[in-house]
């Protein structure tokens, strides 16, 4: 059969139109439903870096939109529990404090993340960082930032000739960053109340507020003195031991040498105290150092140096409290695969460095600590290295002490914070305090 030209053209037109139509329909269908992931991050710098810089960049690169909500620590914890109890899928990705991994992973609410990291990756991350993000041998969160406790000290005070002389005269020792708790205590008693730059200083500051603040500070002392909070299967609280009492004693002594109002100090109060030059030393997260180097809010730019948390005996390591935030994916997420991809992308070698350089938390990969992009950077207009603390962080990560890794960890902190605060304020002696802590925690375990 011979088809006339117009018939062929018509057929071609119809087929062409049909193809075009279906193509646009498919494209329309695909385009109509761009993948949007919903994430909750902490409003700390590592959360804002994700929200402001990295999520938009990911969207540009892959077309996957990430909607980031920034919520406070307590609110994240509450919200996760509420959402999980209802098996709600409105949020895919959560930023967690690592001590929540046992309770949420144990409750079956998190997706396993072992396949997100390759074997190479796993070798590059701090082993401790991965360990605390795991439960039952499986990984449930990808570490985003680690920050152990460091000792912050004012180099201008410690190098001041007049101070050094006076200290030598008073104590017989040289004034140098303290290596042991006894040294630190002695130096603190000396420095407390002296005046520098027209400002009276207190010896140190650290988180001390009721809730988890004071527990986190006390924990560095407790771990350094060799204390263990629980027996092996977490059925008995074991704070009341000679080590525990010794640690609590020193912490209580030191707590008297904090600024006025320190009993309510939260993380940002410590930062402010350091920035405003109100203290001579501080025990604070390593990552927080950026705040004291910010000329807009700090009066002590470049004057802070970093060392290990003092140990018990010279030559022994200390065991600073480890803080770490990880990223997890909800089991009830309908887009778990996409979510995992995003998390993996966030913690590639490249982005680990990018996050740090943008002011996010301290890196989680050992290799990032020797990346020249970070190590060579100097503070604007000075010769002071921006990340001068990194060498200390690496040492600290070798011996850092994680919080007790069990499902009731958050509850534990809420329980012992009260008897500990009684010790802080002198209402109980350290001995009474640790006994009360054990008693309260044992009762809570029974509940």
């Amino acid at each position: 059969m011979v088809h006339s030209g117009s018939q062929t053209t018509r057929r071609a037109a119809i087929v062409g139109a049909a193809l075009l139509f279906s193509a646009s329909a498919i494209a329309g269908a695909l385009a109509a439903e761009p993948v949007t992931l919903h994430a909750i991050f902490l409003p700390a710098t590592w959360g804002t870096v994700v929200k402001d810089t990295l999520a938009p960049q990911y969207e540009r690169e892959t077309g996957v939109k990430i909607d980031v909500q920034l919520i406070g620590r307590d609110a994240i914890h509450e919200k996760m529990a509420t959402l999980f109890a209802a098996e709600d899928s409105s949020f895919d990705i959560f930023n967690l404090d690592y001590n929540w991994i046992p309770e949420f992973a144990g409750g079956g609410h998190l997706v396993q993340m072992d396949d997100v990291l390759s074997t190479e990756d796993k070798a590059d991350f701090f082993p401790l960082a991965l360990r605390v993000a795991s439960y039952g041998g499986k990984l449930y969160g990808v570490p985003q930032t680690v920050h152990p406790h460091l000792l912050w000290y004012r180099s201008d005070i410690y190098n001041d000739p007049a101070t050094k002389e006076a200290y030598k005269a008073a104590s017989g020792h040289d004034l140098a960053p303290p290596k042991t708790m006894d040294e630190w205590l002695e130096q603190s008693k000396f420095l407390n109340g002296r005046t520098y730059g027209g400002q009276k200083v207190a010896a140190w500051a650290a988180q001390a507020a009721k809730g988890y603040g004071n527990v986190h500070t006390w924990y560095s002392f407790f771990s350094t003195y060799g204390g263990k909070a629980f027996n092996d299967d977490f059925t008995k609280s074991t704070i009341d031991t000679p080590d525990g009492v010794a640690a609590t004693k020193v912490w209580a002594e030191m707590s008297k040498l904090m600024p006025v109002g320190a009993v309510s100090y939260t993380y940002d109060d410590v930062t402010t105290a350091a920035q405003q030059g109100v203290v001579a030393t501080a025990m604070q997260w390593s990552w927080g150092a950026f705040a004291v180097d910010d000329p807009k809010t700090s009066r002590t730019v470049g004057k802070w140096e970093f060392a290990q948390v003092p140990s018990v005996k010279a030559g022994e390591p200390s065991h600073p409290h480890l803080a770490e935030w990880v990223i997890s994916v909800s089991k009830y997420s309908k887009q778990a695969a996409e979510a995992k991809k995003f998390v993996a992308w966030l913690e590639t070698k490249k982005n680990d460095v990018v996050q740090a350089s943008l002011g996010g938390g301290d890196p989680v990969r050992l290799s990032s600590y020797s990346d020249p992009k970070l190590t060579e950077e100097k503070l604007a207009g000075t010769d002071v290295k921006r990340f001068r603390r990194y060498s200390e962080v690496i040492i600290a990560m070798k011996n850092a002490s994680p919080r007790p890794l069990f499902e009731g960890e958050e509850r534990w902190e809420t329980t012992i914070t009260t008897p500990l605060q009684a010790v802080q304020l002198g209402q109980s002696t350290p001995e009474e305090g640790v006994k009360a802590a054990d008693k309260a925690e044992d009762a809570a375990l029974q509940r």
């Binding site: 109890a85 409750g107 009721k210 809730g211 499902e407 009260t418 605060q421 304020l425």
Partner: protein, 308 residues
């Protein structure tokens, strides 16, 4: 006094259906409201009552176990529970007493009109309009020993800088002051309106009889405003028991346990420790306590329950 009831004569006439309508028709407008209230409250009430009989961690709901009255037993023998009861009762007692008293004084002050009284009244309501979250943060800011204005003003007159919210002895009184600051305008408004409702002739009659002002106040005026006082008292009482926002923004139950009220403990247990069963038992005990106290308070105010 005129009655507010509907005379009986209207009922009882007409066909059976009409009789039913007339007898029960007045209930109809209540149906949406009652249905709504019952629907929303039934499930949470039963849920929380049920939860109180379990050992139940919110993050591990699958593993909860039925333990009967165990939570209640543990609670009643827990010293921190009784401590919370005491803290709460102290707080509520002082707060309600102070707010009613100061509110009454202010109401008496504003009772007779004077120039600019409407303007001042408009300003006076501000504290109660501010969100409790904001109130907490605002006072935390003002009471900060280092850069707070209160501390500064104290230093100007030679007083040392005091950490009001961080001192176990001062924290609860400070929270009481904050609550009084925020809610006295509420009682003030109610009492002012009530006072303005008292007829002049009652006061005049008493004055002509030669009574002094204070006696007039206590013997004649106060009894007449019993209802508004009762309403203000009950509303403030119930809200004071549930205080949470302020504590969340300032002391978080501390220092140590100085401001650990019942509602704070329930939040701590339920949301930080995820101990839902224990928290539920806590709230039921709290409910019993509040109902008991409100009943007693109302009974004292009204020797006979007359609300007509």
């Amino acid at each position: 006094m005129s009655s507010t009831t509907i005379p009986k004569a209207r009922r009882g006439s007409g066909s059976p259906l009409n009789r039913v309508i007339r007898r029960y028709g007045w209930l109809v407008p209540m149906i949406p409201g009652m249905a709504f209230l019952i629907a929303i409250s039934v499930y949470p009430t039963l849920y929380s009552l049920n939860a109180s009989f379990y050992r139940w961690n919110l993050a591990a709901s699958a593993r909860r176990s039925l333990t009967g009255f165990r939570n209640y037993e543990l609670l009643l023998s827990d010293p921190s529970f009784w401590h919370s009861v005491v803290v709460t009762l102290v707080y509520v007692a002082f707060v309600v007493a102070l707010e009613l008293t100061i509110g009454l004084v202010l109401a008496l002050l504003f009772f007779r009109r004077f120039p600019s009284d409407h303007f001042l009244r408009a300003l006076l309501i501000l504290p109660m309009v501010v969100a409790p979250v904001v109130v907490g943060l605002l006072w935390r800011y003002m009471l900060n020993p280092r850069f707070g204005i209160v501390s500064y003003l104290m230093s100007l007159v030679g007083l040392p800088r005091v950490d009001f919210l961080g001192d176990p002895a001062l924290a609860l009184p400070t929270l009481i002051v904050i609550d009084v600051w925020q809610w006295t305008p509420f009682t003030f408004l109610i009492l002012l309106a009530a006072l303005q409702g008292v007829p002049e002739d009652v006061i005049e009659a008493a004055r002509i009889d030669g009574a002094r002002s204070m006696r007039i106040l206590f013997d004649h005026i106060l009894p007449m405003i019993r209802y508004p006082v009762a309403v203000a008292l009950v509303l403030r009482l119930l809200d004071a028991f549930r205080v949470y926002d302020i504590i969340y923004m300032t002391t978080r139950g501390g220092p140590i346990d100085a401001t650990q009220t019942l509602s704070w403990q329930i939040y701590d247990l339920g949301f930080k420790s995820f101990d839902i069963g224990y928290a539920a038992a806590y709230s039921w005990l709290m409910l019993i306590l509040v109902v008991a106290i409100s009943t007693v308070a109302l009974a004292i105010l009204f020797r006979k329950t007359d609300f007509a």
